[in-house]
């Protein structure tokens, strides 16, 4: 079943159409979401009432577009802030983890590595509630001890950031470790040999080598954070990130406004993904 082995015409036809069907299945929901963003109607469904840009740029009721909808814009801002923090934090810790696992032999390393992988196999909701439970235990403990109410430990942006960070770091670690494993240690020795100190060698040789992976990890972490739902749902306070805000609106009944937001999201993430791919290829 490879091109060099002859196959019957009908087999090839059936196989080909199956693959085609699969890609239709992949594309269908996204296409539908995108198309109905331009429907001049209150509902993202048939009948088609004509083409409009109002769901993007409209500024009067009932068709207020994305760019005039305060709630959505604020949610985008919140999401971007959270994603930024998560991306930076997780890539920093991911990098130190990668160096630790790559450069040191110590007792309990295998166990620590397995622990590091665990967040990937813990359901997001469970991660969320466990952090919620622990932070409130902490907050209550501090209240009992010192009568201080630490707002940061109550559901809110800090917990959302920590919750997402808790599993995105694993992904960042894996991405950066994979690259570090390909690094030729003699390059660092060569740098030492040419008069660099240990830190200078890492800064001038190893980090530039890791850069593509680190930037890739930043983007992946940013996207994952931006789109995260399960963990965020359990930890969110009054400032709702975009996915939560959209979810609340979706429950109340949807307008093509949500399609417009979704389309912009799709465009935004594809653009980011494209940038990464181009960057990696260079």
């Amino acid at each position: 079943m490879i091109p060099t082995i002859p196959q019957s015409r009908s087999f090839r036809l059936i196989y080909g159409s199956y693959v085609l069907l699969f890609f239709l299945y992949l594309a269908l929901p996204l296409t539908v979401v995108a198309v109905f963003a331009f429907n001049d109607s209150q509902f993202p469904s048939l009948p088609w009432e004509g083409f409009t840009w109002n769901w993007f740029f409209g500024d009067e009721r009932p068709q207020i577009g994305v760019f005039h909808e305060r709630g959505i814009l604020r949610a985008v801002g919140t999401s971007a802030f959270v994603a930024m923090c998560v991306a930076l934090l997780s890539v920093c810790v991911g990098t130190t983890n990668a160096f630790l696992f790559n450069r040191y032999e110590f007792r309990g390393k295998g166990l620590l590595y397995v622990l590091m992988l665990l967040p990937l196999v813990i359901p997001g909701i469970v991660l969320g509630i466990s952090i919620l439970v622990f932070s409130s235990t902490l907050a209550n403990g501090i209240w009992d001890l010192a009568q201080m109410d630490i707002q940061a430990l109550r559901p809110g942006l800090l917990l959302v950031i920590l919750g997402q960070f808790s599993f995105i770091t694993t992904i960042a670690t894996l991405v950066i470790t994979a690259r570090l494993q390909k690094f030729d240690r003699t390059l660092e020795e060569a740098a030492l040999n040419l008069g660099a100190t240990r830190l200078t060698a890492v800064r001038t040789i190893t980090i530039p080598f890791l850069m593509p992976a680190m930037i890739g990890a930043v983007v992946v972490a940013f996207l994952m954070s931006f789109e995260n739902f399960n963990t965020t749902l359990m930890l969110v306070g009054s400032d709702a990130p975009l996915t939560i805000a959209m979810f609340d609106r979706l429950k109340e009944g949807s307008t093509p406004l949500l399609n417009a937001v979704s389309l912009l999201l799709m465009l935004g993430s594809s653009l980011l993904a494209l940038v990464v791919i181009l960057f990696q290829r260079r």
């Binding site: 030729d184 020795e189 040419l194 040789i205 080598f209």
Partner: protein, 363 residues
């Protein structure tokens, strides 16, 4: 004159195993010194101790007479050309060569000038802006050397740098490395498992085995006057016979081989009758002849049958099976005399006692 590099009673143990076992040597200024040995003999360990990537278990390393044991690798006045060169792939050629100078905080314009000079020196002017992967294997080699030489090290270490090159280029680079060494007039310490690299380039060669130096000397010393059976067997090729000594007269001796032949040879170390011993004879020391009369001047004579002709141009050999059933390798003279030799032909072979070196065998 103080030697550029001096190792005294150097020992390195990894747990139970002793990688370097009490090695001492010194390298005079401006010379080309090679450490030759099979892989795993400890030569890389010595190199890494000199560069400072490993601490010796005991012993001392002195460069220009000063111990460098407490000097970290980035402060030692030695530089190293790594086995796979370790050129920095994220930098241009000029940035690679200037790396060490930047670490010394040299002003930019001065670095640029030095880099240009170095490129000129290795015969690759104007390639400074190129990326590492745009160069050929031989060019990379020269850049790796230039990257070290701009720092004007007291000693340049080279860790099998020709290993990754193909055969043709390797032959060419041997000559070129020797020329570069002369041009830079710096002490080179070169490690390799390839005897031809060592023999062609070096002023002095140390043959290393199992953590120890077997012999230190010039190429000729090692080839013609090996001190130990290991050196005799490792450098060049040899026919070998094991046996027991019949009698000894000074350096000359006669041995009875295990297959019952009596052989005359020269002792490399003191031997007494009754000792077990081993005789080494190089294929090119054995004379091939059609009749026994032509060999009357030789101490050892045998007759046998040609079992195989191994044609390899100037290095062609004949495999001869003697009456005792042993197979010998004999160099096939290219003078045309034996052009018609073929399998199954009866031949006579002979060699002198001076060309047969005898070592004390393992008990």
């Amino acid at each position: 004159m103080t030697p550029d590099l001096e190792c005294a009673d150097l020992v390195k143990r990894f747990g139970e195993t002793t990688a370097v076992d009490n090695v001492s040597f010194s390298v005079p200024p401006g010379s080309f010194f090679s450490i030759l040995g099979p892989s795993g003999c400890g030569k890389t360990t010595i190199m890494r101790m000199i560069a400072g990537f490993l601490d010796p278990t005991s012993g001392d390393i002195r460069i220009k007479g000063k111990s460098v044991l407490d000097t970290p690798p980035n402060k030692r006045p030695v530089n190293m050309v790594f086995q796979h060169l370790a050129l920095f792939p994220m930098m241009t050629i000029a940035e690679n060569i200037g790396y060490g100078l930047r670490r010394q905080k040299m002003p930019k314009d001065q670095i640029a000038r030095k880099v240009d000079e170095a490129l000129e020196r290795i015969g690759l002017p104007g390639i400074g802006g190129r990326k590492v992967d745009e160069l050929s294997g031989g060019q990379k080699q020269r850049v790796a050397i230039a990257r070290c030489m701009v720092l004007e090290p007291d000693v340049l270490l080279l860790d099998e740098p020709l290993g990754a090159l193909d055969l043709k280029l390797r032959e060419h680079m041997k000559v070129e490395l020797k020329a570069l060494q002369a041009a830079f007039d710096t002490t080179f310490v070169y490690i390799t498992h390839d005897q031809s690299e060592a023999l062609v380039m070096s002023d002095q060669i140390a043959v290393m085995n199992a953590g120890r130096f077997e012999q230190v000397g010039t190429g000729q010393d090692l080839y013609y006057r090996p001190d130990t059976p290991f050196v005799a067997g490792f450098i060049g090729e040899s026919n070998r016979w094991k046996g027991r000594i019949d009698r000894v007269e000074g350096e000359a001796l006669q041995m009875r081989t295990d297959s019952g032949l009596a052989m005359r040879a020269t002792a490399a170390s003191p031997l007494a009758a009754g000792d077990t011993a081993e005789i080494f004879v190089r294929p090119e020391s054995i004379r091939l002849a059609a009749s026994a009369e032509a060999l009357s001047g030789f101490d050892n004579q045998l007759q046998g049958k040609v079992t195989s002709i191994l044609f390899n141009g100037a290095a062609s050999r004949v495999l001869v099976q003697d009456d005792a059933g042993e197979t010998l390798e004999v160099t096939l003279p290219q003078s045309g005399e034996f052009a018609t030799l073929k399998r199954g032909d009866a031949v006579h072979i002979g060699w002198g006692a001076a060309q047969a070196t005898c070592f004390k065998g393992a008990a």
